[in-house]
């Protein structure tokens, strides 16, 4: 049973992901009213649902932001780069607020943290203390900011220090708002023998002249109890405001958290966008990922049971049984395709996150980088998507930190100052290819070579190819960076990338060209669950080849094989295709020469190879079971499956074979 709280957290996390994208789009086009609306609605929903679940700190924090975007919406303010910057930082803060449970001590600590206070101040500075109450809206309508003087008396509750309140920060913030005098009120400090050291006995009195308006001051005290604060305007110049000192409620936010005291006006304000209404797309349904996993598991069992049924029906050879078995097979295939499609998500979900990473990182490192993504609509299994973010972040960080040069260096090298970082995805032969390409300096191969020799990975006499040197960056702990920056250089990144990708039964490759850039390509299986396979027999064992990588099957002409002895290349329609005898490769015993061995031609995008097998047995719906820790490291297998007769068959990893064979061919040449 998942609690409502978990649902809220999950929805909020999705809202925040969306928010990031909207904010960054706004940065590009600040006048986009639709996006402003979207940001406002997100804030509003967060505030509304947050309130329902007792995330009061979240509610108080989001309130200011909501106001800011409300003002933009009404045309009372404009989107500025500073607002975007603050909003992005605020988004991260909201994420933290969500992680701590509602109203706990952690929430308070976070709320009182310097970051939070600073953000709140920045937001307040933007809104100019704009308040929700209608009378304030009128005040805001009056032209231009003007200096006003306030008399502020701030007497924190004696117990407030124990709650983590920092009166000093509040006073600092007030001082930043303008100029004036600060006086410490010590009247309430008791004699030493009755003084409780953990209580706050002090008060502050300030006379402050500021152009930010009363609401800015209110916002500073947004977390304080109303009785602790008095803010009174001193009428130093001619305004239409009341001439007497006025005591008023300080914290509309606090009021919002206590509905009984809410002013009626704020209700009407909320009417256009009712709170706590999660964004819902027509015709879609939110399902727990766990249930999808269960469905997939059960489907896997069904597919295995069905192949057993097929086998029985073949043995019994009864017409009515076989037609029923065929019908069930057809239905199971349909069910499988539907179930798999439910799990497929566009990879844009991951790509979207990187706009922020690239933006922040290039700012931090003083580099100018334009991110371009293509193929975001490519669909990948949800579990693959979930695991992809981290490796991609590592690769992108490496690209920006190590690959891409500073703008001056780029210009000196005759390249545009702004670097291109291309993130692309597409599907090919049952795999998803994701490539990350930068037009930076490329890998420093001589440095990699030195480092590899230093670490004993290469002997000084070795003459590795550029491709082999490039692969060194995936070794554990390998880094040529002289200093470890906050961004990268610890030498854990690429190693971790390789591990994650291999756990997903994928592979990672890097190609680099000095001065031109580096391309990292990830190959991933489309799905982790069920594939169509081709069953083949090799020396008494059955293996499964993913059907999506099979190009064609040909007969190995025994005469040709003899004639070409010493050369394992087939001539298929004028194309030379290297082949490998699987029984030889696997060292399988008891292999007798078959009269007419078959060759299954398999291919990845760029290469074709042939696999020599004894016989081709037919198609098989293959439920992929991952291999245990004992067998995972063996190259050439991507998993195992259970056949109709209950035996286990290994699934060949074609990409690994292609790589293996290309290596062999090079080594032999």
């Amino acid at each position: 049973m998942v609690s409502h709280l978990d649902v809220f957290r999950q929805e909020a996390a999705e809202l925040l992901d969306g928010l990031e994208g909207e904010l960054m789009a706004l940065e590009v086009d600040p006048a986009d009213a639709e996006r402003v609306d979207a940001v406002f609605r997100t804030m509003h929903t967060l505030k509304g649902s947050g309130g329902m679940f007792g995330f009061s700190a979240l509610v108080r924090f989001v309130h200011g932001l909501e106001n800011a975007y409300d003002m933009v919406r009404d045309g009372r303010a404009k989107v500025t780069p500073a607002l975007i910057e603050t909003s992005l930082a605020a988004r991260d803060h909201i994420q933290q607020l969500l992680e701590v449970s509602g109203d706990s001590a952690a929430e308070e600590a976070l709320e009182q943290s310097d970051t939070a206070q600073k953000l709140a101040a920045q937001i307040t500075a933007f809104t100019g203390g704009e308040n929700e109450a209608p009378e304030t809206a009128q005040a805001a309508a009056s032209p231009g900011p003007k200096n006003e003087t306030f008399h502020i008396r701030f007497t924190p509750d004696p117990g407030s220090l124990r709650n983590g309140m920092r009166p000093d920060l509040l006073v600092d913030e007030l001082i930043e708002c303008g100029s004036g005098t600060v006086a410490l009120v010590t009247d309430a400090v008791p004699d030493l023998d009755t003084l409780a050291p953990t209580a706050c006995h002090l008060g502050w009195e300030l006379v402050l002249t500021t152009d930010r308006g009363r609401e800015a001051l209110d916002a500073i005290f947004v977390f304080s109890e109303p009785e602790e604060v008095q803010i009174e305007r001193v009428d130093t110049e001619q305004t239409d405001a009341p001439t007497t000192w006025e005591v008023f409620e300080t914290a509309p936010e606090a009021v919002a958290a206590q509905p009984s005291a809410a002013p009626p006006q704020s209700q009407s304000k909320d009417a256009p966008a009712p709170p706590a209404k999660p964004a819902q797309k027509a015709g879609s349904l939110r399902v727990q990922a766990r249930r999808l996993d269960d469905l997939m598991d059960q489907l896997g069992e069904l597919v295995i049971a069905q192949s057993r049924l097929n086998r029985l029906s073949e043995q019994i050879a009864d017409l009515s049984l076989s037609s029923a078995a065929e019908e069930i097979e057809r239905l199971v295939t349909g069910l499988r395709d539907t179930t798999l499609s439910i799990r497929m998500l566009p990879i844009e979900l991951v790509f979207g996150k990187f706009r922020r990473v690239v933006r922040d990182l290039s700012g931090e490192l003083g580099k100018s980088v334009a991110l371009e993504t293509t193929g975001g609509e490519t669909e990948v299994d949800k579990n693959v998507i979930d695991s992809l973010t981290e490796p991609l972040v590592h690769i992108i960080r490496n690209s920006i930190d190590h690959g891409i040069e500073a703008p001056e260096d780029r210009e000196a090298a005759g390249k545009p100052a702004t670097a291109q970082l291309r993130l692309s995805a597409h599907q090919a032969a049952g795999e998803v290819l994701i490539s990350i390409r930068d037009d930076g300096a490329g890998l420093n191969l001589p440095a990699i070579r030195n480092r590899a020799v230093e670490r004993g990975l290469l002997s000084p006499d070795d003459q590795p190819s550029d491709a082999e040197l490039s692969q060194m960056i995936f070794r554990p702990g390998f880094s040529t960076a002289k200093t470890v920056s906050t961004v990268s250089g610890r030498g854990v990144g690429m190693d971790a990338v390789r591990r994650v990708i291999e756990d997903l039964r994928g592979s990672v490759d890097v190609v680099t060209e000095a001065g031109q850039g580096t391309t990292v390509t990830l190959r991933l299986p489309l799905t982790l669950a069920i594939i169509d396979g081709l069953m083949v027999r090799v020396a008494g064992s059955v293996f499964v080849i993913p059907l999506s990588s099979v190009v064609e099957c040909v007969e190995l002409d025994a005469a040709a094989a003899r004639r070409e002895s010493g050369r394992t290349v087939l001539n298929i329609r004028e194309e030379l295709v290297p082949y490998v005898d699987l029984s030889e490769r696997f060292g399988l015993q008891g292999h007798e020469a078959v009269a007419h061995p078959r060759v299954v031609i398999v291919g990845t995008e760029s290469r074709r190879i042939g696999l020599v097998v004894d016989d081709i047995l037919g198609q098989h719906q293959t439920v992929i079971k991952s291999l245990s820790v004992y067998h995972r490291a063996i190259k050439g297998f991507s998993g195992a499956t259970i056949l109709g007769d209950g035996t286990v068959a290994l699934i060949l990893d074609i990409a690994a074979f292609v790589k293996l064979l290309s290596g062999d061919v090079r080594a032999a040449a």
Partner: protein, 167 residues
């Protein structure tokens, strides 16, 4: 032994439990190269007959093949090499002990090849001795201790080190 006799022996073992004050643990004992080994019953899922295995090309002789255990693919583990014992053919007494163990941080189901399953026994922990340094050919890191049960010497295996993917 068939599954039913094993159950009967398990019942016997239950009745014969030593006085409550004495600390004991329950072990499944099985034979390899004529020696009697013991493994805690808490990690044992079931005992099955030897079934068709699928050799994994390029695999370590420690885990040479895969088996189908009730619809799940499990590695078949042969500990004889690790225990420096000859790996001959197994006869009709041979069984596969299905274990469920945390290995390298993940719960793993595996089949352990045994030349014969003997019985389930309670072993009083104060009867367990450490393996004498020179008394055996087995690497010490795989052995938790030895216990003398009647006329039998039983070697208690350390599942953590014995089934670790790398030595």
């Amino acid at each position: 032994m068939s599954a039913s006799t094993l159950e009967a022996e398990m019942d016997d073992a239950g009745e014969a439990t030593a006085p409550a004050a004495r600390q004991s643990a329950t072990f499944l004992t099985f034979k390899l190269a004529g020696e009697l080994f013991a493994i805690a019953v808490t990690s044992v899922n079931e005992i099955i007959d030897v079934i068709a295995t699928t050799p994994v090309p390029g695999a370590d002789p420690f885990a040479p093949a895969l088996i189908n255990v009730r619809g799940a693919v499990a590695p078949l583990v042969d500990v004889r090499e690790r225990l420096r014992m000859p790996s001959g053919d197994m006869d009709g007494e041979a069984r596969i002990i299905v274990l469920e163990l945390p290995i390298a941080g993940e719960s793993t189901r595996l089949g352990l090849l045994a030349e014969g399953v003997e019985s389930v026994r309670d072993v009083a922990l104060d009867l367990v001795d450490t393996m004498p340094e020179l008394g055996a050919r087995w690497p010490a890191e795989f052995i938790d201790g030895v216990a003398k049960l009647g006329d039998d010497l039983v070697i208690l295996l350390n599942v953590e080190t014995l089934f670790s993917p790398t030595v």
